[in-house]
Symmetry: C2
Subunit: 344 residues, 2 copies
Amino acid sequence: MKRSHVTNVWDFELELSDERNGGTKPRVVLGVDGGATSTISIVLSTTSPASDPQVIAKAVAGSSNFNSVSEATAKLVLESCMAEALMQACITRADVQAVCLALSGVNSPLDAERFYLWLRGIFPNKGTKCYVCNDAEAALASGTAGRKYGCVLIAGTGTIAYGFNEDGKMARAAGLGPLLGDQGSGHAISSNALIAVLKAHDGRGPPTALTAAIMEKLKLSSPEEIIGWVYADTAWARVASLVPVVKACAKAGDQVAVGILEHAAEELACNVKAVVNTLKLSGHDGSKPFPFVMVGGVLEHEAGWDLCRPLVDRVKQAFPGVQAIRPQVEPAVGAALLAWRQTI
Amino acid sequence: MKRSHVTNVWDFELELSDERNGGTKPRVVLGVDGGATSTISIVLSTTSPASDPQVIAKAVAGSSNFNSVSEATAKLVLESCMAEALMQACITRADVQAVCLALSGVNSPLDAERFYLWLRGIFPNKGTKCYVCNDAEAALASGTAGRKYGCVLIAGTGTIAYGFNEDGKMARAAGLGPLLGDQGSGHAISSNALIAVLKAHDGRGPPTALTAAIMEKLKLSSPEEIIGWVYADTAWARVASLVPVVKACAKAGDQVAVGILEHAAEELACNVKAVVNTLKLSGHDGSKPFPFVMVGGVLEHEAGWDLCRPLVDRVKQAFPGVQAIRPQVEPAVGAALLAWRQTI
């Protein structure tokens, strides 16, 4: 297979092979969460099957979303990030039982196949299982101990609801980006707050504490300057950074801010309900239990405001059997757990 | 004054001066509507003061919005477009009584002052009155025979409500672009239609006739391809081109399309009400008459659907004295009428 990447990231393996001659074989899996902001690789030790897998190494790198950087760059980032984690763990590729690449931007079987073939080129050992999926699958797995079952809601800069039923059928809702109205995302919450400030300014809406709070946060002297601020740099994460300000204003009792967050909870619940209904996760009477995993900055309890409470209330009303889960581990560990599930 | 433009656009004046030696002096004004898509110059003859001014020449050029092209390019476009119109009318600059530049992008006194000084350099004759304003002012004037009084609503690709009271006080609402939620604009109506199709597709919303109509219009084979279509080219006018499709579906009875257009009418009415209230145009009891001018593609009766009807109904409910006007002339004529008002 043709290889275009720099291969010296694997030079550390030569020394390891010499050192380990005759020792016991380690049992590890590798998981990668590749996103538009950062890439994280995790090595899990699975030596004692009775206990939970343990994180023994972690490496962090930049974006590996092939839509935001080029595909060639994404592959270089992924390969060096995987090598870095394995080097930390003193493990050669030949000793890896399974690898899971969970990549944002992988939205079709064709995308997955392309990255699978490339990954196979790096891990040619037939004993190594290779698996490529969307990053939402790793987020789900981070709350289900690696099981591909249930619904995950991710709400960070963007938002998507994603899930699998017991037959392996997949469904998704939203996840379309700011230009296609992903309400409930950090970008939408922040945009709605900026719009509310401008509406208060030109008489279309009621006064709001968001005006003073956002002016201070963005160091602007007039609401009109918001227009220049927004169009100067349309990077989505930049606008999305206002979510904590909105939560703080809501906590302090501002009804406009409360309204924006209630609307976000409503829209996020709608996305979750669409996936659960499509997959019939809650059975015929809505009472069947299923895991519902919540991931992302918008859903974190911050500035005294917890968006998960109204969200879970709404989902529970429709599906009383829902099991709401806030994962204790990061999505990259979820990717490693998906890899681990391939080995048992 | 330093001049950076190409001056040979005025060469035609030399021949005219020779020809006209000893003839009667023409009386004309020049109006320019400079937008992000095109620039239009109009020459009005004002020779017989008893009758309405008559259009005697018109020239069309590309964008002269200094935010979308550079300021230097904008000035070149404006100057050659003015020269072209005057050449058609066989008029030299010295014979122009007044010029009005109505420019999109001119949003502050500083912007206006900069273009005014530049315009003065082109029309140095003290007998020529020069005036620079926002393009919304020309749109208002196109419905009020050049009077700067009342409220104008522009709804094309973007939307803005703009007005003046009898004391010359100005107010505006919306006009903030798609990233700051100008609901009711062509961009917003089209985006909401695309979102409705995607919601129907992933189970978040009801089925809609918009799906088949938009797939056909954009030559796509699946709703998922909308995502790629939208992010491939984010030019605002491209998305906004779906408005006639939404109107046709509404006319055929699709409730989702009707809902999108009703929402647009509601939001546009809200923008108008904010301006009218700020300027107290309707007097203390809401019954005082004032002109309300409606301009732009969204407000045109097309595909059997008239958005103005529900809009005017809503405005009339709040302000019974409102005088709704659909101008019979284009905004560039409004700019020329503003110039003409400077001379009488």
